[in-house]
């Protein structure tokens, strides 16, 4: 996926680029409104990640520009402003998602993947992964073409894992993905453990390889070794 990261804070931009590049995306970084506009006029991107507050302009204007140009790009806003009005304004301008800083890189990656799937397959796609097959439109999962009944949370976990293959995903990242802001992290770790245990058992029972590895004290990793 070709991405443009528009964020004036250099170290943030670098971190995002590094994480997403490791996942196989082609990332370009710009730090100003002017540069962003120039890039958008000249090239095509699958998705852009845009900060609202830029030193020489507003990220919202960049989104309006993209929408006006008729180019089909996924748009994710990243902003430190977390009020409801800001979110609504951002989404009404045409963004697909609104992430409040600080966010987990895994979360951003999952959002970008889901946008990509929506753009390229119009929602009727399937995610095939070795013996695993997911139909996001129907929220169903197959192992060797046998359907596995997953709860909503288990399904969400699986999609999140597949979006962030070979990455260490922290427990707090998972908790926020599943429950949002309301759940306090410490409360939720036990539930994450339970959900993952159940998910893993259900997949193993149908003969799926054990992809979900526990990274002790940190979180989990959906690991595909090179031999796979």
């Amino acid at each position: 996926m070709k991405l443009l990261i528009i964020e004036d804070e250099k170290s943030l931009n670098d971190a995002i680029v590094e994480y997403l590049s490791e996942d196989g995306h082609v990332c370009e970084a710009v730090y100003t409104y002017t540069d962003a506009i120039e890039k958008i006029e000249m090239y095509n991107y699958d998705s852009i990640v845009v900060d609202i507050n830029l030193p020489d302009g507003s990220g919202l204007d960049i989104i309006k520009r993209v929408k006006k140009s008729g180019k089909s790009m996924g748009i994710v806003i990243i902003s430190a402003r977390n009020s409801l009005e800001n979110k609504i304004e951002g989404l009404e301008t045409g963004a697909d998602n609104y992430l409040t800083k600080p966010f987990h890189l895994a979360e951003l990656n999952a959002h970008l993947k889901s946008i990509l799937r929506r753009i390229s397959f119009n929602g009727s796609e399937q995610i095939v992964f070795n013996e695993l097959k997911l139909l996001p439109g129907e929220h169903s999962v197959f192992v060797h073409d046998t359907e596995v009944n997953l709860t909503r949370k288990e399904y969400e976990l699986l999609v999140f894992f597949i979006s962030n293959k070979n990455k260490v995903i922290t427990k707090s990242g998972l908790a926020e993905h599943l429950w949002g802001d309301y759940m306090d992290m410490a409360d939720s770790y036990d539930f994450i453990y339970t959900h993952i245990k159940n998910l893993r058992n259900k997949l193993l029972k149908e003969g799926c390889a054990d992809y979900i590895k526990t990274v002790y004290g940190v979180g989990y990793k959906f690991e595909i070794s090179e031999s796979n």
């Binding site: 170290s11 409040t100 800083k101 600080p102 922290t170 309301y182 992290m185 539930f191 979180g219």
Partner: protein, 423 residues
Amino acid sequence: MKLLTKTSLNYLSVTLFVFMFGTIAFYYLLRNQVNQNINIELEKRKSSIINQLLSAHSSVVTPPNQNEKVVISLLNEMNAPKLNFYDTVFYEPSQRKYVPFRQLGFVADFNHTQYYIQIYKSLEETDNLIVRIFLIMTILVFLIIIALLITVRHTSLKAWNVFYDTIDKINKYDINSHDAFALKQSEVKEFEELNTVLSAMTDRIKHDYSNMKEYTENASHELQTPLAIINMKLELLLQSRNLDDKQLKALVEAYEATNRLSKLNKTLLLLAKIENRQFPESGIINPVSIIQSQLDSFEDMIDAKHIKASVVFEEEISLNMNPYLAEILFANLIKNGIRHNIQGGELVIKTGNKTITVSNSGNELKADTVSIFERFHKNSASPESLGLGLAIVKKICDIYKFNVNYFYENNLHHFSIDFGKGI
């Protein structure tokens, strides 16, 4: 007591006091003046009688007019003749009443005989005159007092109106409203000065307040960015493959602490925003559906503690409030009810009588329950909680004038919100 009432009462009592003594003094002064006049007349009469007697050589004197009597008697008949002026009364048969007279008694030597002569002058007419003058004066003064009182009250009321208007506007002053703080013009210098000072003060407060708001928002904004950097760099570091367990442990702890910090920052910002009433838009919300969806999202927590959650909706309630705040309000109450619950405990949510009560099992609190809604009030049993949930509940209830109460009954903690007029 109003200042105007107080001054009016003071004015009235002082004027009535002065009026009372003034009229008494006035009466005696008048009386005295009249008596002096009569005395002069009687003196004139005395000398005319003496002259007449001397010239006429007879006991006949000019017949007295109606208001006058002259009595001449031999001195030896009287043991102690009353000399000089004094007041007396005579029975007037024609009028069938006693009539006051002023009398002058003197002794005249006439043909070597001493006569005691008394001249009486009726005071009836002068008395009537005095009474009339006195009455007229009294009524006049009384009318002046009333007129003055009315004028003073009227002008004062007009002047004080501005003051009451100012008080009313201060009372209704809302720092968040964007209406100008316009006070009525006053002709009274003091009130005009008060209004000028007040306007300047509110302007200053408003300015400082908006600075504060900007500051809170900016501070949190500025904090989020470095927090985001720390967070993301740590997340990247966690992806490295060549970390030993010790390094990994240190990284994770730093990562968790940053997460906690950013959550705290977000929550404090939310509290500040609620306090600053930065959630002006409102809509009709149905708490029942919010509660249902919140219970769904806390399903894991409820299941993990084997909590028996029950919902009793006795009454349909709809609230006019900000939907986002409504969600936060009920989410915090339910989360509190789950977090401080015991294994296999109960969670009961009940609506009825304009009240929603969230009750949960648990041991009675040892600490005082007054501070339960304060910031960072923590239960030692749940050290991981921020201690801000109930503070947020209280703040939201405060701005909508809902009444939130805590009580412990039948081994259950009850948090009840009385919506009162908020419905």
